[in-house]
Symmetry: C2
Subunit: 457 residues, 2 copies
Amino acid sequence: MKKTNKLLFALLISTSALAQTDSATIKKIFNDALTNGKSYSNLEYLCKKIGGRLAGSPQAQQAVEWTFKAMKEAGADTVYLQECMVPHWIRGEKEQAKVFTSNAKSFKTLPICALGGSIATPAEGLTANVIEAKGIEDLKRLGKENIQGKIVFFNEPMEPTFIATFHAYGKAVMQRWAGAKEAAKYGAVGVVVRSMTLAHDDNPHTGVMSYNDSITKIPACAISTNGADWLSNYIKTDKEAKFFFKMNCQTLPDEKSYNVIGEIYGSSKKDEIITVGGHLDAWDNGEGAHDDGAGIVQSIEIIRIYKALGLKPKCTIRAVAFMNEENGGRGGKKYVELAKLKNEKHIAAIESDAGGFTPRGFSSTMGAKQKAKLKSWKTLLEPYGLHDFEREGGGADIEPLNEELGTPILELMPDSQRYFDYHHTAIDTFEAVNRRELELGGASMAALIWLISENGL
Amino acid sequence: MKKTNKLLFALLISTSALAQTDSATIKKIFNDALTNGKSYSNLEYLCKKIGGRLAGSPQAQQAVEWTFKAMKEAGADTVYLQECMVPHWIRGEKEQAKVFTSNAKSFKTLPICALGGSIATPAEGLTANVIEAKGIEDLKRLGKENIQGKIVFFNEPMEPTFIATFHAYGKAVMQRWAGAKEAAKYGAVGVVVRSMTLAHDDNPHTGVMSYNDSITKIPACAISTNGADWLSNYIKTDKEAKFFFKMNCQTLPDEKSYNVIGEIYGSSKKDEIITVGGHLDAWDNGEGAHDDGAGIVQSIEIIRIYKALGLKPKCTIRAVAFMNEENGGRGGKKYVELAKLKNEKHIAAIESDAGGFTPRGFSSTMGAKQKAKLKSWKTLLEPYGLHDFEREGGGADIEPLNEELGTPILELMPDSQRYFDYHHTAIDTFEAVNRRELELGGASMAALIWLISENGL
């Protein structure tokens, strides 16, 4: 045997031995998650005892306190808070919407909800004719002559033929985000936006929208997809129908809030950090189960699993419950600001913010060499249903880490078919989450973190 | 350029052109399923207007008639029935179970249901002490001295650490199938079987069980997992507690029923048949939505898609709604019997009987060459989330085709995490099925059938 061959052989043996150890550890992680898992009961508490928890709300504060305790109970070596100021928007009384026939003799009630950040309507409500637009671009075609003084009804549906529902969301969501400020440029007095979902039902989907201080602010609501279909159809024949809606939401002064952080100290590379997290805030109209209670309890679960199994990762594992992803991203920004200040070394960051569904892989934003390393672990992860490591992605809370520190970022990629049925609605509840699907997601992140910690990225 | 190279080049070009055509056709199939799909509304009808439809029941007959009509409406070139005789078991009045404390001063009600095929208890119910067994093998350990005169409580849970839940089912289900006849050998007077599910809840799961004519027949019921956990715990301290249950199920004489078959005639190989199906019968306690309304409406959908798109497959596509998969398999047996009689040429058969969840791939039972061909299509199917073509499998209704005619068989493999939450229960309802997940399953089969029909297997 030649020397180089011997070397190669030795290398192969040791690589394979390593892979075997990793494989055994991953098996232990999944077994523990699926038999002793606490993520499901934690999610029940977060959803049922606290519920919706928009940044700045008393529920958000309760969630901070509960997460602190839950991370301690999971066995974290240290748990601490990171203070940040967050926006404080409140929905107020339940919103109302009606369509009056042009002869004013009858009306139909429609299910709406205010978009997050919207101003209120006048106290008596706002009534005007409606003009339908298929997305933002359509405003140009309609022009000021058709829009002035009216309520713009943005009705571009999410594209059902995209297999990845997040792509369909990405294509349609600009109506929600920028609809009010764009329509106001043409003299619109309010906007109604078709809910961001592929489901046909009566649930309006809230979500953040934005204003521009130099453009008149007009109130904006979401309408359920069934409501949108009805409205679109109705105004085809009754062009003078009046849309009425009433909302008394308000933006209050910023509030103090926190990211909650729990760590397992690295055994040999304590200063090298792997961040894993989700966002703790959730829209006020539901329980924030998939969005993003799932990501929170999965991140806490990683601490529990490592401690229960006595796993001692080389790097420091930092579970982060980010505050205010939904309407400001202040927690994510604060996190990177402090990381820079302390000159921290971040090896990788992983977020779970796409629902507690069966995991299918990880998307990532990182260099080609790192991506190749990630893909080299496919054979270790495929037995657990993780097969897709190709896509670009990364969570909203950890994007600043990538942008400002160049940290490789990843996002857990669960099956996406059901996500937008629940997203930002009253039905995003604990009952919508399946225990095993949730547990598999936490275990998948725990396994990937182990591979990164032990083998580098 | 050498001649062989030229040939190779020409071959590559034509193969790639073919792949492009196939790829475009597959895209059209998925687009149509996701925009014009009728499988979801068909499922609603089957579940809500007909409901549970066990072989021999009036509902099964209604389902036969409805499926005939639905296949016609989907545009089948021909629709016909295949007569077969089926068992006719009825559940009777709602089952009751109570556990009386040994001092007979109090009792607790437990959720049970009769296993399919069980005899009734005596009219006044059956009361006896309970002995717990962890699976069939455990009977030997306990022996006649511990079992005689008692009710055996089979309480081996499904293994939660298996990622594929069907493997966990396969390991535990022998308790349900053979528990009564095995326990009777030791003198047991009845059996209670832990429900076949990984969920922790109050739903008892029915399913077929079997007797042996040479062994005393004893009544058998399923108990919910929460009930099983309670019972197991309770009898640890109160060993003389009495279990009471009452069921008045009956087996009536065999009934006449039917497989329902709809065909699209092959354009150039009419005599070469690709079968695709599910089973039309469903347990009486639920609506049979995932099991197997999904497979039925997906099979009908394939006809609709091909006709809507004007696809003319070379081979004959035969959608089959098999009767009596749940408690006899008579439809599947009749189908192969007639196929043999008519000397039919079956190219492949595909079944969907694992729920209307997001499809992940196809399992199969066929030769290595055929499996290699199947895997060569992976790149065409992966964009639709179909990534797993490795596993062995095939549906219960089409297994006889493989066994007796050597037909290559395949089964649609949806994500399996939620399946046993619903399987054989009252909550296997229309509401438990997600529209897109269901539609993707039908489109996946339509796409695979196209590839087989055009390129052979």
